[in-house]
């Protein structure tokens, strides 16, 4: 086991494409760090540079205290789990797991002991003689894990290891992975584009974004899951983490004596002081145009909250409802042009145009109790937990009072 340090790591592919820039990460000994971000943001590239499969073109990489930039993969003492498992098709499950140990000239009995032990842990003992072809996806996944475990490496690197499994199996394997990590305590770097996986597995989660010529930096925020959720550093992280995504709308704050009101799309709600405390420097932004963020879970039907504060309510026309059993999602429109900063455009990708067609309407989603009797076309009073409101700068998307992500400091100051 070892810590892994990325010191200003960058990658320019031979064809001139910059995939990664200025990544600084201190991965602690025994930590489970998740790299998450939309497709093409450079997650795999970073992981492959740690593995030694991709040349590091900028910066320094340390495993433990050793500088490993020029150390070949086999000498880095790491194990990798691939998205397509990459099991050797012509070898039995046992041989697949034993291959790395045999190459390291480990005594036969020790190899056997380790493989059997790992097989036991992963419950694949009965398949040891089979070829990978004769296994289900989930079983192959376990073999791939087993191949990594038996090596007892300094670190595990995993690139979307669960993405080829069906939804149910994925949830199960997620739990097992988590338990396995608790048991082994091996430093793990885990790549996924699934934010649920990121939030449930990671001790810390690093949110990445594709670099651009103006902004050659990938890292947006590195933080424990709850911090990412509660204090996203900018609109990109706010929009990426959480499902359904955070609602965002243009608006402004009005100070009226001691009370601060959030005004947006013809609504006026009283902002809880807690929310203001979470945004240092917000006092200076009174009256400025801001982006207000409200998570779907911070709504509730007013009829279902005892003593709901009338000053924290909005009335909406319900467009669509989705009843999921233990919660109901209510979709409605606000009379305001949709928030369209570069962050949001990047997150939405192709869907951004669709959003633009919507014109002067902003889509909102609220989560309400399943027993709220609501159908499309209803008028519904919603109460907002305004202590959990988020405020962002509308030009660069950085959260008010937050330390801007690397590469955006200059923008925030100007």
């Amino acid at each position: 086991m070892a810590k892994i340090t990325l010191d200003d790591i960058g990658k320019i592919y031979p064809d001139g494409t910059r995939a990664v820039g200025h990544v600084n990460l201190d991965i602690q000994d025994g930590e489970f760090l998740v790299l998450v971000g939309p497709s093409g943001c450079g997650k795999s590239t970073i992981l492959r540079m740690i593995a030694g499969l991709e040349e590091i073109t900028e910066g320094k990489l340390y495993i433990g205290d050793q500088l490993v930039n020029d150390v070949p993969p086999k000498d880095r003492d790491i194990a990798m789990v691939f998205q397509n498992y990459a099991l050797y098709p012509h070898m039995s499950v046992f041989d697949n797991m034993a291959f790395g140990l045999k190459l390291r000239k480990m005594p036969k009995e020790e190899i056997k002991r380790r493989v059997l032990e790992a097989a036991e842990t992963l419950e694949i003992t009965e398949f040891l003689d089979r070829k990978p072809k004769a296994l289900s996806g989930g079983q192959r996944q376990r073999v791939a894990m087993g191949r990594a475990i038996v090596r007892e490496p300094k670190a595990f690197l995993m690139d979307e290891p669960l993405s080829n499994l069906d939804a149910k199996l994925r949830v199960q394997m997620r739990t097992e992975l988590s338990l396995l990590h608790k048991r082994l305590g091996t430093t793990t770097v885990y790549v996924t584009h699934d934010q649920v996986e990121a939030m449930t597995l990671g001790h810390r989660v690093a949110v990445l974004r594709a670099v651009s010529p103006q902004r050659p930096y990938n890292l947006q925020q590195v933080a424990p899951p709850t911090e990412l959720f509660n204090e996203p550093v900018n609109l990109f992280v706010a929009g990426f983490i959480g499902s359904p995504a955070m609602n965002m709308v243009y608006g402004h704050l009005e100070a009226d004596g001691d009370t601060v009101w959030a005004v947006f799309a013809g609504n006026r709600v009283k902002v809880d002081p807690v929310a203001l405390e979470r945004h240092p420097g917000i006092d200076e932004r009174m009256g400025d145009r801001l982006v207000l963020g409200i998570r779907p879970g911070n709504f509730e039907a007013a009829s279902h909250v005892a003593g709901a504060d009338p000053d924290k309510q909005i009335e909406v026309n319900v467009e669509v409802t989705e009843m999921l059993g233990n919660e109901t999602f209510v979709h409605f429109l606000l009379d305001e042009e949709p928030v369209m900063t570069p962050d949001i455009q990047e997150l939405l990708g192709a869907a951004a145009e669709e959003e633009a067609v919507m014109g002067h309407k902003t889509q909102f989603t609220a989560r309400v109790s399943p027993d709220v009797p609501v159908t499309a076309g209803d008028r519904l009073a919603l109460v907002i937990d305004t202590a959990k409101m988020h405020f962002f700068d509308p030009t660069h998307g950085v959260r008010i009072g937050a330390t801007p992500p690397p590469g955006m400091e200059a923008m925030v100051q100007s």
């Binding site: 593995a51 030694g52 070949p72 993969p73 086999k74 990798m80 291959f99 191949r147």
Partner: protein, 287 residues
């Protein structure tokens, strides 16, 4: 030919349309046309020549293998047969071993000049080797390899390489790159990756290219005729010309000789059909 017939027959089971039926009839007809003379050779090789002249198309009364003994011993088929087998197998092994290594590098690595090198190998497919016989002969003569089995083997191996490299490099190219990377992380160096991970995975293609080299070499008449002088080094096709002259009237022995010549090919196809089909269709579906 055997390979094609088997694969089509297997598929025709699902065919129930009139067009399908017509194709089936056609193929069966073709199979009969091909197999009938072969059967005639088999049967007549077991009958005395006298009987053949009296009634060319008949079943043998009893199984009589005398003609085989005659062909094998008196007509030197034993010599020709072992020469053919040794030369063909050695050529195929040499060419395949060379090709598989070249194909691995061409299929999986990009480096300065790699595409030029690939084209160089492929250009061999376009060159008619037989037209180059004169320079080839002079070359071998200078090397002292005329009238040696080694000389013939070298020439044969060279003719087999372009096609084998072509097939094998395509095959190597479609193997998932993650396998190499997994092996590299597992601690394998380039030789281990080639020998223990990639090589075993191209075995079906190896069988294909081996068979496709084997058949024309086994049947080749031209090169041994030009390059070999002493009859104790002759291969079957060359040996047969003398044999036909000597045994002109002994049809039974003639048939036996023909059968001895054909048998290895039939056996080869019977054994390797499945592998050949797998090799030819590789890359159509993901492995």
């Amino acid at each position: 030919m055997t390979a094609g017939a088997t694969s089509l027959r297997r598929r025709s089971r699902s065919r129930r349309t009139p067009a399908g039926a017509a194709i089936s009839v056609l193929l069966w007809g073709y199979a009969v046309v091909v197999i009938a003379p072969l059967m005639l050779v088999v049967f007549n090789s077991m009958r005395p020549t006298r009987e053949i002249f009296r009634d060319p198309i008949a079943l043998p009364g009893s199984i009589n293998l005398d003609s085989y003994v005659t062909a094998w011993n008196e007509a030197s088929f034993s010599t020709y047969f072992w020469n053919s087998l040794f030369i063909t197998v050695a050529s195929v092994v040499l060419a395949t071993a060379t090709s598989v290594m070249a194909a691995y590098v061409l299929g999986r690595y990009r480096f300065r000049g790699s595409s030029v090198l690939a084209i160089f190998f492929l250009s061999g497919l376009l060159l008619p080797f037989r037209l180059a016989i004169l320079p080839l002969f002079l070359l071998l003569q200078n090397l002292g390899l005329v009238d040696t089995r080694a000389g013939l083997i070298l020439v044969y191996a060279a003719t087999g390489i372009p096609f084998s490299v072509f097939i094998l490099s395509a095959y190597f190219r479609q193997l998932p790159g993650e396998l190499t990377e997994a092996a590299r992380i597992d601690g394998a160096n380039e030789f281990v990756i080639f020998g223990r991970v990639m090589f075993p995975l191209v075995r079906p293609a190896l069988a294909t290219v081996a068979v496709f080299q084997f058949v024309p070499l086994w049947n080749d008449f031209f090169f041994p005729l030009v390059l070999l002088r002493s009859s104790e080094k002759w291969t079957l096709p060359v040996g047969m010309t003398r044999f036909f002259g000597e045994f002109q009237t002994d049809w039974s022995t003639l048939f036996a000789g023909i059968l001895i010549t054909t048998l290895p090919l039939v056996a080869l196809f019977l054994v390797a059909t499945k592998q050949i089909i797998a090799g030819l269709t590789a890359g159509v579906g993901k492995i």
